[in-house]
Symmetry: C2
Subunit: 461 residues, 2 copies
């Protein structure tokens, strides 16, 4: 359990920050500070994440389980007193996991633990059998002559490293995102990768991938880290390695939807502030940190503002559907709501504490970004950039120019759990969750009600 200093700047204690130019920080509206600090005792977010993961469990996009999640969401959001609670449905392609296994037949017979990647082609129920050819990285696979790969099961063992901000996910995720396409183009019959993850438990990391246009889909799976290293050791003996790989899946069409709820603003003509997360999850855990925690955090913060006062601007809470298979909810929202937003922000990087605030509100609104930094600093949150923000479902809208805020969560341990059966409620630290709610409450308090643009009592640090 951690405790957070309340009402005191932690900046002086942070060595990295101490080296930054000491820009004088604005003072914080006492009402904002009070809302923020009260949220450090929040129980609303825990209630949501506990309820959704217990009473619904996994919520694979486009399935009946996700639909039960939407029903649960509607009931919960209405019970919390939100206005305009409704679903905006959309159709989408579905991919559903079936039986899966990986077995070394020779030279050392044994089973490995594997999970299919989303959009993997299906093997027959009895699996396919082939010789394994191993590569240390996507680049090595790309450089290999087709003749080395043709007819084989490709194995890429590229190892992910931890980062706090998750910035390695792009690079280390290459074998998952591009590997299957590259392998198929070279004539491989299947591909297994070392999980894009950082833990040593026998729970593989799934995740979506898409074959490039015109490329023949092949079965694609992820081994756990212990299994991937086992396969490396087996290959290192220098004998031909034969694997039977069974990755059965089915595809079709399904219905998903975005669940929307609002805290109506005093001036309904003003553009709303969108805060969101995604309701769907992968199928093997209960989607606790990905992303029940996210929707719980933003909903609790909105609820706390609702309880305190009517904000000037409408706060719109969106529980996006079908994020995991490809941001279907985000794109559906963008299409349906092609209108100005005052700001948008999404919580979708686990349940670790917020360590940094970035924003991209536009050049003329940088003072507002600085006011946000000042309001968040007492939570131990580093002032980040003023010209940068990102999010998953909202990413394309921010890319298209929507003003964005990013409350960066600590992702040091995120990829221990990401897309695995281990993404369950017990992984969430309640105090970290509360710090998140406090950060989002402060952010909404600053943005929703008009801001204090002039420092009242500048203080030196």
């Amino acid at each position: 359990m951690k405790s957070y200093l309340i009402g005191a700047f932690l900046l002086a204690a942070a060595p990295a920050l101490a080296q930054q130019p000491a820009a004088p920080m604005r003072s914080v509206d006492p009402q904002v500070a009070a809302l923020r600090d009260a949220a450090l005792k929040d129980d609303i977010a825990w209630d949501i994440v506990e309820g959704l993961t217990t009473e619904v469990g996994q919520r694979l996009a486009g399935t009946e389980a996700e639909a039960r999640g939407r029903d649960w969401a509607i009931r919960k959001l209405r019970a919390l007193g939100f206005a305009n609670v409704h679903v905006e449905p959309f159709d989408m392609p579905t991919w559903i996991r079936g039986p899966e296994s990986a077995e070394i037949l020779a030279p050392f017979p044994q089973r490995l633990v594997v999970a299919a990647l989303g959009n993997s082609a299906s093997t027959p129920p009895e699996g396919i059998t082939g010789e394994v050819v191993g590569f240390d990285s996507l680049a090595d696979l790309q450089a290999a002559p087709d003749s080395v790969v043709r007819g084989k099961i490709v194995f890429v063992s590229h190892a992910m490293q931890r980062t706090q901000d998750g910035s390695g996910y792009g690079f280390f995720g290459g074998p998952r995102r591009q590997g299957p396409t590259v392998a198929s183009r070279k004539g491989a019959i299947a591909i297994v990768i070392r999980s894009i993850g950082t833990d040593y438990h026998r729970n593989p990391h799934t995740g979506v991938m898409t074959f490039a246009e015109g490329v023949k889909p092949i079965p694609a799976g992820a081994l756990t880290l212990p299994d991937a290293e086992q396969l490396q050791r087996i290959l290192s003996r220098g004998q031909p390695v034969t694997m039977r790989l069974t990755l059965v899946s089915t595809t079709g069409r399904g219905r998903s939807g975005n669940v929307i709820a609002e805290v109506p603003g005093r001036d309904p003509r003003l553009p709303p502030i969108l805060v969101g997360g995604h309701l769907d999850s992968w199928d093997q855990g209960t989607g606790a940190i990905d992303d029940a925690a996210g929707i719980a955090i933003v909903t609790a913060a909105a609820k706390r503002i609702m309880n305190a006062r009517q904000p000037l601007r409408t706060i719109r809470v969106v529980w996006f559907g079908a994020e995991e298979p490809g941001l279907f909810g985000g794109f559906a929202y963008q299409k349906a709501h092609n209108e100005p937003h005052y700001a948008m922000a999404e919580s979708d990087f686990g349940a670790g504490r917020v360590w940094r605030v970035n924003s991209k509100l536009g050049k003329d609104r940088e003072p507002e970004g600085r006011a946000l930094q000042a309001a968040l600093a007492p939570l131990g949150i580093v002032p980040g950039k003023l010209d940068q923000a990102d999010g998953s479902d909202i990413g394309p809208m921010i890319g298209a120019g929507a003003p964005g805020v990013e409350l960066s969560q600590d992702g040091t341990h995120y990829f221990d759990l990401h897309h695995t059966p281990d993404d369950t409620l017990d992984k969430i630290d309640r105090e970290d969750l509360r710090q998140n709610v406090a950060a989002w409450t402060a952010m909404l308090a600053v943005l929703s009600g008009g801001i204090q643009t002039e420092p009242k009592r500048p203080r030196r640090r």
Copy 2:
């Protein structure tokens, strides 16, 4: 990576020990100290544990996999130069895991992760369905009226706590060992327990249980800790909970065996020193810490003595078969070798460092026990009792009066991995493994060659 002080007593730094009466410690034979310290750079044990877990993998008792393990053992022990390498086979009942799953059908449909306990009755392939009745402990189940249990699936959520010496395994293991019998007697159709384990990963802990005579076998499984707590939360909602439980298994007869190898002593008439571990493992991991590490440690230590000099007494290395389902190898050895042993010791509590030495060599040999303590202290090993020792396969023989030594491993994290799919090579710390080899080498050096009973240069601490 840890480093161990070499040739220096760590006792002064251990607060608990500082409070013990400061018995003057014997000096250590320089040859023993040299052998011990050289073993801190051992690579033999790693080679064995890496090889066995990679080239054989899991080694379920009585199966073809365990037989491959014996073949591997014979090759390895001969290659290492041991004498009299042979198998002493025996027959045994087998229990083999089939498909297994647990599914909540109502009120909140979702899958839980389960593993059958060894000797569980088999369900039909389509599983059985029943209402779940939960108990917080074995005592609560025992106290329940039959009418509450009859026709139900019993769930016991008793939570294990960590201990360094593993002493909680007896108490906390009750739901696994006695729970199925108690539940069956009360008319339950099946039982699932919270895993006897201390980790929060979705890898259930299996382990053997035996129905009491005359009790009808019922299906019995273990849920992971995240799943057990999920089931508790679901039950806490107060609605009837229906579960479909599939635990398919098959039983039969199989062949196992003890693999034996020796370092012949200079005087073959003297009783041998037995050091052992067990070759078999549970079926879901690769049996790295349970117990490839154990046989690797004792074998490496014996090999190091062999390389250094011919010991006075024969050292007999035993890789017991079929420990997990009920010490079949230990009993077979006891029956075949009803003869005096100079001492026996077994390594079967993971791969954590040795933190304590106990011995039970007999009242007249307590000086030898003290010499052992002195030789081991520089490795940071606490002097334990002189009238106590235990082991798994050798437990019954020690109970029957055989002299025993116990090099206690640190088990604080042992039950994170014990009997789970997570028992894999990556969990072993090479430096901890080396400290084990050094301890066993020192122990064998003291016991195998005649000991120094008089202190040469008493030193005060």
